[in-house]
């Protein structure tokens, strides 16, 4: 089943390119550590989902590029075409000549309706190319201008027009000390609108990715390209093919649907995060060997202690011994640091994957009381290695890890709203204070739900 990707804004387009590139290079990686036939099945499965075939054999990404400025989209298109390995469709791009000045309301109320027909037509054409459509993967930033407002509008339209198809929004959480003054307003408006029309919100935080680049990849001058490549690596390790059931020899047909069914059936809990291990520069890779036991131990602690990478993990954080209300401040603190999960999905790729022991993830103490591990925990496997990593594990988690950042953003936005700062820039384009209040209400509810796990 195929996935149609919608790349929105500068952020979405740059990331989208890296994602398709990572998927393509992995599926054509010669060191798959598996038989030739299996490799071909893997390639075919990846291709069916993300690429369509053209006459001369060059795969075309199943994607739409949308931006209000032409610079980034034309760069993206040419970078893909120059590589000679894959490319974007000739008519899959929609761009205008004007920006939107980081104004969410402009993107949502002006750009959206004005270009609705053209954008939806492009999407329709891409959908018709698919033999069967699994859903949409929408890449956008949360706090920028074009990506965020227009993205919210497009997602709403997709909800209306393709109500049976799945929608996953991949959103970039801005730097905490970001440069845009109104980024918190943009963020809460984006999140609240997406919460209503999307099925799942897969979040990548700029701060976390930046730290990974600095500490794990040892990059001195970190550019957005480096950050996007780390991001694409993490996404690739989730979306590349895996076997459908234990001992089966067929690749999973609908990873998007299976992922959503495992992680986000509850309408109040839609926020997902990714962790990946190991993550390192290619130079160091040749000198490292791993065991599943070691990798999974680190991954589990990353989950529990809400750590973003395998360095600097706090090993003191442990699951609480009981689920009764806490007594005493010390245990309260430790409780607050412990990241309770609703549901987890672990994806293992590489050598001897059948021997990996996942008992640590099936511990009921990790999960909330109303969902047992048998429902809350799932694992996908394949012995085909991902890129050059002999063993790699990814974790997609629906847990409290975004609780604090979300709470911070809502708090800051509320403070600004209380003094009505910059509101006129939004009300100028059709947004009302009511809309802001609705957004606050919805997000407070989400924060409360995640808090009471």
């Amino acid at each position: 089943m195929s996935v149609v990707t919608v790349q929105l804004g500068q952020c979405g387009n740059q990331i989208g390119f890296e994602v398709f590139d990572a998927l393509y290079t992995d599926s054509h990686c010669p060191q798959g550590l598996c038989s030739k036939r299996e490799n071909e099945a893997y390639q075919a499965s990846c291709k069916e989902r993300f690429f369509s075939e053209e006459e001369n054999g060059v795969p075309i990404a199943r994607a739409i590029l949308v931006d209000m400025e032409p610079k980034v989209t034309s760069q993206t298109l040419s970078k893909a075409a120059q590589s000679g390995r894959w490319k974007y469709g000739q008519h899959s791009c929609f761009c205008q000549k004007q920006g939107s000045g980081n104004n969410w309301a402009y993107g949502y109320s002006v750009h959206g309706p004005r270009h609705e027909e053209s954008i939806m037509n492009l999407i329709q054409k891409e959908v018709e190319k698919c033999d069967s459509l699994s859903g949409f993967f929408i890449i956008m930033s949360m706090a920028g201008g074009t990506g965020s407002g227009l993205g919210a509008f497009v997602t709403q339209n997709l909800q209306d027009q393709y109500s049976n198809s799945l929608k996953m929004n991949h959103i970039i959480w801005p730097y905490r000390t970001g440069e845009v003054i109104v980024q918190n307003y943009n963020s809460i408006l984006t999140l609240s609108h997406l919460y209503r029309s999307s099925d799942a919100l897969l979040v990548h935080e700029n701060d976390a990715l930046h730290k990974i680049c600095a500490k794990l990849m040892n990059i001195k001058q970190i550019s957005f390209s480096d950050i996007n490549q780390v991001l694409a690596h993490q996404l690739g390790s989730v979306f590349q093919p895996t076997y459908s059931v234990e001992g089966s020899c067929h690749y999973r047909r609908n990873p998007l649907g299976d992922l959503m069914e495992n992680l986000v059936p509850h309408p109040e809990f839609k926020m997902l995060g990714i962790r990946n291990i190991p993550q390192m520069s290619e130079n160091s890779l040749a000198y490292s060997t791993f065991t599943w036991a070691g990798l999974l131990k680190y991954l589990r602690q990353m989950l529990i202690s809400n750590s973003k990478m395998e360095e600097g993990i706090d090993w003191h954080v442990q699951p609480p011994l009981s689920r009764l209300p806490t007594l005493g401040k010390a245990s309260l603190n430790r409780e607050l640091q412990f990241n309770t999960s609703i549901a987890n999905l672990v994806i293992l790729r590489g050598k001897d994957v059948h021997s990996a022991d996942l008992g640590g993830f099936k511990d009921p103490a990790l999960y909330t009381s109303w969902l047992k591990p048998i429902n809350a925990f799932n694992v996908w496997k394949t012995q085909r290695a991902f890129r050059k990593y002999e063993k790699s594990a990814a974790l997609v988690s629906n847990s409290q890890f975004l609780l604090k950042p979300l709470d911070t953003i809502v708090g800051k936005a509320w403070n600004m709203f209380a003094s009505k700062a910059y509101i006129h820039q939004y009300t100028k384009f059709g947004l009302e204070e009511e809309d802001f209040l609705d957004s606050f209400t919805l997000l407070e509810q989400v924060v409360a739900s995640y808090c009471n796990l």
Partner: protein, 384 residues
């Protein structure tokens, strides 16, 4: 009703074009009747289409199905070599230029020759059959019978958290959407299947039409043959040209005999050398060889008996169609699933016995070898 040569060619006006139209609809990449007419008069513009038609007809189905068909020159060469290997008697065709610009009449004759000598149309139609997907090979049915993973169950005693219910509702909704998407996919695929079935039906109807009218076509082909210029159609069926005398053949025969002698000379010393090397085993070796042969013969006989006793199906490895039948229906061709299951189970148990015996024998042999060479250390592979 003998063949009558008549101007106009057909029993009634229009019968010939209809016959040719039916023929070209049945053939893959069949050209229009106009091309056939022009070919009778050896018009050059008809040649490329006929070369391509012959290429489609003569090339193996896998090659014909690939997206990019080769250039005309390559097609011409392939057609020539295919016809030659099938024994096509007219040498004129082999001399036609490789750019595919001439020889439409010769190509027409070649096509008629192919049609006349065997069930060409049936063969082509069978190659491009639409597979309906209701067939499975016999030995794969076991995989389908295995049950899926058990659904996770929940105890219903005690107060249930409403969030859990909401979770379950959400799961149900996702599965529902998945079902709808699968149904849409099924509809799209069925649509494609119907289209292909329709086009196949058209071809089959054309084939029937052709069968009814082909007499007219053969009468017309007589006129085509008749219109060939005499000097270019020796149409010799003798493989040997008597004019060139026995000399050439004798030469070839002598060369072959010489080659044979040389090969013998090369093989004998090599065989002797090998036997000398392996000769350390001597009579033991030939005795061992005989013993192995006897053992293998016994095993084969046992398997054969087991197979026959197990009531083996007539053609075990042909794909079979699955047909649901009323349990009360007694007679009918084909196998019943229950019989097949039983037969395969018996076969399985016999094979397991045989495996056990072989394993015991291997173990004994290993023990013997281990005992025979006391200085040898055996390193076993790491355990699973």
């Amino acid at each position: 009703m003998g063949r009558r040569r008549r101007r106009g060619g057909g029993a009634r006006v229009g019968a010939l074009p209809e016959a040719i139209a039916a023929l070209s609809q049945t053939l893959p990449a069949g050209p229009s009747p106009e091309i056939f007419r022009r070919a009778k008069f050896d018009r050059p513009e008809a040649a490329p289409a006929l070369w391509q038609l012959l290429f489609r007809v003569l090339s193996p189905p896998a090659a014909a199905g690939t997206r990019a068909s080769p250039a005309l020159g390559a097609q011409v060469r392939l057609v020539k070599s295919a016809l030659c290997s099938q024994g096509y008697p007219r040498r004129v065709l082999a001399r036609l230029p490789e750019d595919g610009s001439q020889g439409s009449r010769e190509l027409l004759l070649a096509l008629a020759w192919l049609l006349a000598r065997g069930p060409l149309l049936e063969h082509l139609l069978a190659q491009t059959r639409v597979w309906l997907g209701d067939e499975i090979p016999l030995w794969q049915y076991e995989a389908l019978a295995s049950p899926g993973p058990p659904a996770p169950c929940q105890e219903a005693d005690g107060p249930v958290d409403i969030r859990h219910l909401q979770w379950l509702m959400g799961t149900l909704r996702f599965r529902w959407r998945d079902l709808i998407t699968s149904q849409q996919e099924l509809c799209a695929l069925l649509g494609k299947l119907l289209q292909r079935l329709e086009s196949e039906n058209t071809r089959l109807e054309a084939a029937l039409q052709w069968r009814r009218r082909e007499l007219v076509f053969w009468q017309w082909m007589d006129t085509v043959l008749g219109s060939c210029p005499l000097q270019t159609s020796p149409a010799t069926f003798l493989p040997r040209d008597p004019a060139s005398g026995p000399g050439e053949l004798e030469l070839v025969a002598r060369e072959l005999r010489g080659l044979h002698g040389e090969l013998q000379g090369a093989v004998e010393p090599r065989r002797a050398a090998w036997e000398a090397k392996a000769g350390g085993w001597g009579p033991e070796w030939s005795a061992a060889q005989r013993a192995t042969q006897e053992a293998v013969g016994r095993d084969l006989a046992a398997l054969q008996r087991a197979w026959e006793q197990g009531g083996a199906p007539a053609q075990p490895h042909r794909p079979c169609r699955l047909v649901k039948r009323d349990a009360r229906a007694v007679e009918g061709p084909g196998l019943r699933a229950a019989e097949l299951t039983g037969a395969l189970r018996i076969r399985e148990s016999r094979l397991e016995t045989a495996l056990g015996q072989l394993q015991t024998r291997c173990r004994q042999e290993l023990a013997r070898l281990a005992g025979a060479e006391p200085g040898l250390i055996w390193i076993l592979p790491p355990g699973r």
